[in-house]
């Protein structure tokens, strides 16, 4: 029988062997929750509202479960379920994931395949060899969500999938309203269900709380950085350009904005930062640097690079918008930066925005801004090539 971790990974995979975009914090917590659920279903641990305790330290035969069981047994000072979720999510999520993938590859359900993006970035994908287990899991979920009386194990799996928020991706044909009401019902059933189901619910609840706490921290940081980015870009448009002193001799402004060497330096630095930002975005999208997209760290690094670009753009231009094609380049570049910063603000401020506008509208705003971001980026290579060549040729 597959473990919860293995089932969760199978559900996350797509036809190309890549994985559905899941927020890193939710995914790591879901992996930690999955391993605790496996231990709970194996009757090795017990949880209540206050504590998580080892009830049976006997080995299960699964190396990963046994490793986690030993770890919990060894740390008697930590009896808090959310604390264990955090610890396992932080320290062991990668190992849990790799062990589960190895197991799936060994069972010939998945195949491990290595690729190189742009000949540099190494990445692995896991195309499906045998899709029967995936279909079976999906059928179980579909049956429970549709109308069937839930099995505790299915209920637990649904909790994990729900924590990763991938149900709409797995079953796009479902109508959100009916699914949500059914999920609510299932959750209520959990609450009045048997003790084991209660435990699962508690873990799931802990997963969601832990994920939310982490998400909140991420959103605050994202919102702050994005707000600074937006303000700086708008300032670039509104602030009058900084003049050059009319006195003989070297001046910082003169060096920055009219000296050939420093203009080249800041120009190439800007290009490097832009390429780094693009690389991070591609890496997140193509899952090159983190196993899942939506990684906090990479998202934040993307927006920090964007902020760096705004600063270097100031060093390169001193708030000058240019003329002719240079003005188009500047406009496109500022559009990229502003739309990116606004996406950050929408994502970061989503919980607060939800009090005033619907989730649908927030989603539409985010998508629209991302389209603008992408379209403006598409203009940049051509404009940059012409800009650089025209500077050197004339």
């Amino acid at each position: 029988m597959l473990t919860f971790t293995e089932e969760l990974l199978l559900l996350l995979g797509d036809e190309e062997g890549l994985f559905l975009p899941v927020k890193e914090h939710a995914f790591e917590c879901a992996l930690a929750g999955a391993i605790l659920m496996d231990l709970a279903f194996a009757f090795r641990i017990d949880t209540d509202l206050q504590a998580l305790v080892v009830t049976d330290p006997t080995l299960t035969g699964n190396p990963m479960l046994d490793y986690v069981l030993a770890k919990i047994a060894a740390r008697k000072d930590i009896t808090d379920t959310p604390a264990w979720i955090r610890i396992l999510a932080t320290e062991d999520a990668v190992v849990i994931r790799e062990q589960a993938l190895d197991s799936l590859v060994e069972r010939r359900i998945l195949k491990r395949q290595h690729n190189r993006f742009l000949g540099v970035f190494r990445s692995a994908c896991y195309p499906t060899l045998d899709d029967r287990p995936v279909q079976a899991i999906k059928s179980r979920i579909e049956a429970v969500i549709s109308d069937d009386i839930p099995d505790p194990r299915d209920l637990a799996l649904i909790c994990l999938v729900d924590a990763c928020q991938i149900l709409p991706d797995l079953f796009p044909e479902w109508e959100a309203e009916s699914t949500d009401s059914r999920l609510d019902l299932l959750r209520r059933m959990d609450l009045i269900g048997r003790e084991l189901t209660g435990t699962i619910t508690e873990i799931q609840d802990r997963i969601i709380r832990a994920a939310r706490a982490q998400a909140e921290r991420f959103r605050k940081t994202l919102l702050s950085l994005a707000a600074v980015g937006s303000a700086t870009v708008i300032a670039t448009l509104l602030v009058p350009r900084i003049g050059v002193p009319d006195r003989w001799g070297p001046s910082l402004q003169g060096l920055l904005w009219f000296d050939g060497f420093w203009k080249q330096f800041s120009g190439y630095l800007l290009l490097a930062f832009s390429l780094a930002g693009l690389t991070v975005a591609v890496a997140i999208k193509k899952q090159l640097l983190a196993w899942v997209s939506g990684s906090h760290r990479w998202r934040l690094s993307h927006i920090v690079l964007g902020l760096g670009c705004v600063f270097i753009l100031f060093l390169h231009t001193g708030f000058r918008l240019g003329t002719n094609l240079d003005a188009v380049l500047m406009g496109s570049y500022l559009t990229v930066l502003l739309s990116g910063a606004l996406v950050g603000m929408v994502v970061g401020g989503a919980p607060r925005l939800l009090k005033q506008v619907s989730l649908h509208r927030i989603g539409t705003a985010r998508r629209t801004l991302l389209w603008v971001h992408g379209l403006a980026i598409c203009l940049l290579p051509a404009l940059l090539i012409v800009h650089v060549l025209s500077v050197y040729l004339y």
Partner: protein
């Protein structure tokens, strides 16, 4: 769909980039490329990049700058020579001047004049700080504050701004010139511009004079209202210039009248005027009104056989260098123009002189004021200069005593013993001290002229009033001559 749109934008923009690269390297319109406006003088020819830039865009930076400087000199060298350039390239190419090359390399025009940088472009298209004299004249034997007692304590920002010095043309400041004019009284009124008076009194031969009945033109041209009257009253008919002399191209002009009229051109181009008025035409293309016909303006690249990069015929349609328009138009002017002036009106001989009337009085004042709408022009009509002009036109004052726009901006000059009008209206405009020798001294003392030309407010008022600034050049020259009996060194 959005992804496809992004791919389409990427592909289309990259194709656009390829097109722009081809325009940069082979042929095509490059007017979208400059990262900054050109200066007022050069904006008329900025579509012909090779006029200033070297022909090979793949030359290294050093070669490209050399080509740029060479092209500067090709157009401006004569002007600098005539101004007895104080900081000539020849002087600074001398190895003994090497110590100054790192301070301000006067061998290169681009040390002080860089195009496409409007933000740091000051008066005279200078792109370095206006106190640039400090670079060389603040230490050693060139420290002007120690070598000239009168200059002790002066700030370098005042060198070029107080009406005293210019980098190239300092003729108005030569000490012997200052001393020669020191204490000389104002000329007796009404003063007369000697060359203008000579020009107006030039004899006209009556032998060749033509009358209405002599006009050779097709019926539709003869029927044009006023054309015949204007021609008879103009200088052309008395000088024996018939209609066919302008309206028929040269080879057919000498044919019998009936045959010549088969080649009739209703609106002849400026080249016809140039056939007889060469000196005027030569100076016209040097000024901003006519510089688009300057022979140094580069030809389109795809017609340039020298380049060896002839564009295949099928591509020419898509890749064609824009040709510089034949004439400047009112709409392209950067100076303030009258709102009701026709923006498409181009500048040729007949713009000011009219095709048949050749009205010199109109060309000298009203033609200018029909387009230019700045404070200096508007104030002219309330100025003492205009009053003198009206008196001369009314016959109340001697010929040459009136002051029109052309009197100052297109002064008369002597060419091979004959008096001609300098049609380069920018010739004596900047620095404005250039006007002193060619114009002002006819009627004013040097001291008054120096002061008046240094007073920007008075210039805006078109000299209606007295100067409120004083340029101490003459005082200092006298003081120096008294303390140093050696002849002044210019």
């Amino acid at each position: 769909m959005v992804q496809r749109l992004m791919q389409a934008v990427l592909v289309v923009s990259l194709l656009g980039a390829v097109y722009m690269i081809v325009t940069m390297t082979v042929a095509g319109d490059r007017r979208l490329l400059p990262g900054g406006q050109t200066t007022d003088a050069h904006h008329q020819l900025e579509m012909a990049c090779e006029t200033c830039h070297g022909k090979s865009v793949f030359a290294g930076a050093e070669a490209a700058e050399k080509a740029l400087n060479k092209n500067c000199r090709q157009c401006h060298e004569d002007e600098l020579k005539a101004a007895r350039d104080s900081h000539s390239r020849k002087r600074f190419r001398n190895p003994r001047m090497a110590q100054y090359w790192d301070l301000l390399d006067a061998r290169r025009c681009t040390s002080c004049h860089i195009e496409h940088r409007p933000e740091i472009t000051r008066a005279g298209a200078v792109t370095v700080a206006m106190d640039f004299c400090v670079a060389c004249h603040s230490e050693g034997e060139q420290d002007i504050r120690t070598t000239r007692a009168s200059h002790a304590g002066l700030d370098f920002t005042t060198c070029a701004s107080a009406g005293c010095h210019n980098f190239h043309d300092n003729q108005a400041l030569f000490e012997d010139f200052l001393l020669a004019h020191a204490g000389r009284p104002e000329p007796v009124r009404p003063a007369v511009h000697a060359l203008s008076a000579r020009y107006l009194a030039r004899p006209v031969s009556a032998d060749k004079a033509l009358g209405r009945e002599d006009a050779v033109a097709p019926p539709h041209a003869l029927a044009e209202p006023g054309a015949l009257d204007h021609w008879v009253e103009s200088g052309h008919a008395p000088a024996g210039i018939n209609c066919t002399d302008c309206h028929v191209p040269r080879p057919a002009r000498d044919a019998p009248d009936t045959e010549a009229l088969t080649h009739w051109i209703d609106v002849p181009q400026m080249g016809v005027c140039m056939e007889c008025h060469k000196p005027q035409a030569r100076t016209f293309v040097l000024g901003r009104h006519g510089m688009r016909q300057h022979p140094r303006i580069a030809k389109p690249r795809n017609t340039d056989s020298e380049s060896g990069r002839a564009v295949p015929a099928w591509m020419v349609r898509w890749l064609r260098d824009p040709t510089v328009p034949a004439a400047m138009t009112v709409g392209e002017a950067r100076l303030p123009m009258h709102a009701d002036a026709d923006p498409s009106s181009s500048l040729g001989c007949s713009t000011c002189h009219r095709a048949h009337a050749l009205d010199m009085a109109r060309a000298a004042v009203n033609a200018c004021a029909s387009c230019h709408d700045d404070a200096h022009t508007r104030s002219y009509f309330d100025s003492p200069h205009h009053a003198l002009w009206l008196r001369e036109q009314a016959g109340e004052a001697p010929p040459g005593s009136g002051v029109s726009c052309a009197s100052c901006h297109m002064p008369k000059l002597e060419y091979r013993g004959q008096v001609r009008t300098n049609h380069n209206q920018n010739d004596n405009l900047r620095p404005n001290e250039k006007m002193i020798r060619s114009v002002c001294l006819d009627c004013h003392s040097l001291g008054f002229s120096l002061d008046a030309l240094a007073d920007a407010a008075l210039i805006r008022q078109n000299f209606a009033g007295r100067p409120r600034v004083h340029v101490p050049s003459i005082d200092w020259a006298i003081a120096r001559s008294l303390s140093n009996p050696e002849p002044p060194e210019n």
